[in-house]
Point group: none
Chain length 212, copies 4
DNA sequence: GATGAATGAGCCTTCATTCAT
DNA sequence: TATGAATGAAGGCTCATTCAT
């Protein structure tokens, strides 16, 4: 192995890691195999990453922090509306829901742009601290959803509309479906269409639940 | 270990396997721990099962074959209708759909009755040949769904309504949600209510898709 | 390797461990070398011991618990005298000191009987939880010594006789010397004579310190 | 790292080595950590020292050679007396012993002035060629002691007074105690007092053995 | 000279499976 | 058929040292 550029080797390891983690998942992926694929010794690996999970983290962290940033932002904004306008008009509700839908679709597109990494994060992270990442997001969405429903029906009436578990089941299905869209769509356009399909589909269901 | 009945020992291993596979998943479960829990030596284990996966299979196989039987039956029946009645009436379609929904809910209840095994099969099978079991079911449902849509719109028009991937995404979400219902509901009644909620929710979405 | 008796293999490992730990110390000792020496695979090793340190512990623990037992007993007895007789007579002091000396010599003889293990514990335990074992004993002795001096001079006057550090320095020297006696004497008789020499030597020094 | 003076860098490495070797001992000390602490690359390190042990040696060598010089000197002088004055007077013996004691105390003070390095040499050298350094000194002292006792009792009578091993055990205890004094005293004054305490203590013991 | 990425043998440990008894 | 000790390849990781630039 030529005594190469740090960054070149680093990226070679990142690429091998991405490939092998994607193929086999974090748990099954063999560090020596990643090193071999990168044309690097195991010793060299540890000059670039603290351990196996650090490689995974470095691959996945950009997308993770982006998502966290998004939720931070979203939470603040949502809370803002929540305290300022009471009573809430139907129009406001619709705006919130529409903005949520648009946000979801844009997120899918962002994930699509980072397909491989996103796939890693969602479907290959078993054995890492990210293994429940999507579930954590779903839980945030559960809370947000509950807030919105509380705006509409009042905090005490929500439970007559749907249970907490009901909300969770539907959100879980929704966000996993969107994840699949990001991972399995072949083009940006296809991703957008699929995300819109799923979103409309779920909005319809929510409409039914809310509407009556 | 008293030289007990073969069957007694066999069942003890099955029970320990069920417990430990459920807690840790197939992959992480330690065979020695299962043996210890059963009060059986590793050598004895291999008198009962070919290997670790054989234990998992035996646990899971009853439910698997039940499901397969169900789909075999369903397929035949569906195909039956398909060839016998043309042109198809709206009423027939509705009957088919309703029967599908009912079938789904009953399936959830059946899974709920076999909660632990079902959980194993769906959420603990990573590393076994069953790791894609639910996906395989979803694929069958995709085909069924396509048949139904073909009955309504004609085989050539379906693609104007929804893509194959669209069908798959929605079905995937649907069956995963139903699986969660079976696994996480605390009572049969709760399972039924949740299954009905999810089913109505998804029917609403499908109605929208079909309706246009 | 014949599929041998558990105990036979266990002892073979213990013996190899004793030998190699003694030669190289815990830290430098190579587990594979111990296994090779025992004619056992590394896998087999872990059927007998939890890890490298567990082997060391099992070798050393009998002597450790014996010593602890001795100090437990000694402490109780010493404390007993301390509370019962006040003011203390010179005669009592002498009896305590003589009993301490006799105890020390007997301990050396006990260690001599367990030479190899004792050597392991005192001089080969770097890297284990026993690495400061002798220091811990010395600290106990420091406290005991302080008690005795307090009996003679009163708690407040001791510091005019000798500092805490002074006590510690001398005790440290004493117990290391006794350890060397146990480890390097070739016969029980030699061990006894050396232990007596060291003890008389140190008693003389203490006499001088006390005497003024 | 600014392309500093060779010597500046060299000293920085020496200082980091001193610090880290003292904290962790030679064996456990990590060369990369030493380099990092010095702000030097590993490559650069090997421009300054042949290997890890060479760094240790350079730190410790000044004190080592000083000690060797001392013993060389001492040996010559002692030998001198031995051949010149026969029969030896009691007064001469006392002078020799007193000078030895004074020498020991001064040595402790010298070690105290070089505390850190001395601590390295005596308590942190496991894994280097210095690991038995103090033992080697003790052996020299054993020989010197034997010479003195031979002067007093005649070469053939010494063995009636004390065995070689007895001498060694006591000397070992003595020099280890003095080493502890140098390392653990907080001030020069404390070091002197402790060294005097230990020396008087041991002289008392020797007096008993010799004289009476 | 200095750089610092790379080396690679070595470490302890795990675990499904085998097989002599 | 049951036993359970033994297998042995594989795992992630460490670190003094080397060497192309």
């Amino acid at each position: 192995m030529a005594n190469g550029d740090y960054e070149v080797t680093h990226n070679r390891i990142l690429n091998s890691g991405k490939k092998i983690f994607k193929d086999q998942g974090f748990e099954k992926a063999n560090l020596r195999a990643i090193c071999k694929e990168s044309g690097v010794t195991t010793g060299a690996f540890y000059g670039h990453f603290d351990d196996k999970e650090a490689l995974f983290s470095e691959l996945v962290e950009p997308i993770v922090s982006q998502i966290k940033k998004y939720y931070k932002m979203y939470e603040d904004k949502s809370f803002d509306i929540y305290i300022r306008e009471t009573p809430i008009t139907k129009d406001t509700i619709n705006k919130i829901l529409e903005s949520k839908s648009k946000g979801a679709i844009e997120m899918v597109l962002y994930f699509f742009e980072n397909k491989e990494i996103f796939e890693l994060l969602i479907f290959g992270s078993y054995g890492t601290k990210y293994s429940n990442f999507l579930d954590e997001i779903v839980e945030i969405e559960d809370k947000n959803h509950l807030k919105i429903l509380s705006l509409i029906y009042g905090e005490n009436q929500v439970k007559n509309i749907i249970t907490d578990m009901g909300i969770h089941l539907i959100n879980h299905a929704y966000y996993y479906a969107l994840s699949e869209v990001a991972v399995h769509s072949e083009s940006r356009e296809e991703a957008r269409l699929n995300a819109e399909l799923i979103t409309k589909f779920f909005n319809e269901g929510w409409g039914k639940i809310r509407g009556l």
